[in-house]
Symmetry: C2
Subunit: 327 residues, 2 copies
């Protein structure tokens, strides 16, 4: 295909949101394919990039790591990994994620390597499917590849609501675990109870972790993305041989963490980010076999993308925020 | 055997050291055996117990977890584990360590379950062999069972000198790793260089970790027992997919630890303490096949036990402090 003009949500400067504009799509390189985008889901990463919190941004840029669309008349989704590399344990130095620096899915068309294209799960709409890739991948590696979640185990998802945490919650339930969740929002906690949570705790309450320890008897597996001072309380909630897996640190540096609790209980703490291509395929197979439906907070037209970014800024969502890409 | 009077180093109160006195050894229960003690090595645990830092002490008590001696005319050493349990991942609630609450090896005789008795490694003297059990077990689980040390990997032993750290150093060398060590003592660093360390750093120097990062290129496996504020620097020394294993926290709570470094590099942090009976047998087999000789800081007569405790108090030792048990 020759280079040609398309419409896209174009980000031109930090501390602005992307706006619909025209961009020239380059000629297609060998091994690459062009997908007609139907829906694109937002990630915290997208908001952070607009705030200048990621290195290496060159304007104009098209964000969007989570894409569903049409390729060769078939409905597809994309693996957002680029150059993970051969080591399952960690991404290579050449690793990056679709949607910065390489242009992503907030556009009518996106160019990706052909091996990034996967059939859309048949039980999902295109909008639901777009919610899956990045958050589903991160959650699956956290809960399964690293966390080794097993049926009957007690699992805590610390901070329900975000895309990864919500998938981790759903995956753990589907694996037969007893899953507890925390949030600062009672509304999110109630939603989680409706979805099958065994118990909840509002971390704005004083001594919430002591009450949760009583209610639950402690946890075999804890998933976190906050870090900060609260992380030390998670250690206190660990049962012997527990695993703590974290994929973020929104509350900053970990403080006041007792080595004694961790070594005496033989706890393992694992950092994780994204996942390998094998993780992606395992996640897709799991989603297909368990008919997991992503929790969608809202679906907006891409002309309303400012509103979508504002939801992420406020962290008010329960599940994913999806944009329909159109004319 | 009927109960009878023996000599032992008896601890009668906190903030004192044990002194030689007479004790009545109870009649031998079924499944138990009586070992004639020849040598007993000290551990930090013994010093901490004298300082009242362990719960559950009942006076009088005989300390000593590391024992070599004679059983049925054969030279033997003892596995210090009591009731580890069936789970390799973590000790049971009934777990304890020989030498408090059950009487240990700082005595002419010690009673243990028969399955705690193992042949002394043939390449070691009784004094050397007594240095092995507790520290060797802890180090082997840290470096191998949990740390999965592999030939060619870069390993950092943070704080060389103590028994566990010194065994971890020797085991990692025998596994073919490139091993670096830190200490606050240049004398200990020089000793480690003579033993085969690839490089060293004195952690009293400013920005020691930056220099060590340059020298080493970072580490695949880090062994620590300090915790505290310095732990955050260890995270900075991690290569992608590194493992950090810690078995102590002498510097207190972990502070200022960056979640971002750990999750982006996919680092795993593992607490560990002691080791399973399988770990003990694997450690013994490794020591026998590699002819590992424990590093002995000093061998003293048990009449000089005060001096031995003072060495532990000052943390001035390089390797183990051993008492010869006699008349």
């Amino acid at each position: 295909m020759e280079k040609r003009s398309i419409k896209a949500l174009v980000l031109k400067a930090f501390n602005t949101y992307p706006a619909i504009g025209e961009l020239e799509l380059p000629a297609l390189n060998e091994g690459m394919a062009e997908i007609e985008v139907k829906a694109v889901a937002l990630n915290r990463r997208d908001f952070y990039i607009t705030q200048g919190l990621y290195p290496g941004v060159e304007f104009p840029v098209v964000l969007g790591s989570d894409v569903s669309g049409i390729y060769n008349d078939k409905e597809v989704i994309l693996n957002p990994n680029i150059n993970w590399g051969a080591n399952e344990a960690v991404q290579s130095d050449a690793y990056h994620i679709l949607g910065m620096p390489s242009w992503g899915g907030m556009a009518q068309y996106v160019q990706v390597a052909k091996d990034r294209i996967y059939p859309k799960p048949a039980h999902l709409t295109l909008e639901e499917a777009s919610a899956l890739p990045l958050a589903g991948l991160t959650a699956f590696r956290a809960i399964k590849t690293k966390g080794n979640c097993k049926a009957g185990e007690k699992v805590l998802i610390n901070g329900i609501g975000g895309g990864v945490a919500t998938f981790a919650f759903q995956f753990a339930l589907a694996m037969g675990a007893e899953v507890y969740v925390t949030s600062g929002s009672d509304e999110k906690l109630n939603k989680a109870l409706q979805m099958g949570a065994k118990g909840t705790a509002n971390y704005k309450a004083e001594n919430w972790h002591k009450q949760l320890a009583k209610d639950s008897g402690g946890f075999d597996l804890i998933i976190d993305s906050a870090g900060g001072k609260g992380f030390a309380n998670l250690a206190k909630l660990c049962r012997p041989a527990a695993r703590v897996v974290f994929y973020g640190g929104t509350r900053g540096k970990i403080e006041g963490l007792s080595p004694q609790i961790l070594f005496w209980r033989q706890v393992t703490v694992m950092g994780t980010t994204m996942g390998s291509d094998k993780d992606f395929e395992d996640m897709l197979a799991f989603v297909n076999s368990h008919k997991i439906k992503p929790v969608i907070d809202s679906v907006l037209d891409w002309k309303e993308s400012n509103q979508a970014f504002e939801i992420l800024k406020a962290s008010s969502q329960m599940g994913k925020v999806v944009l329909r890409v159109g004319e």
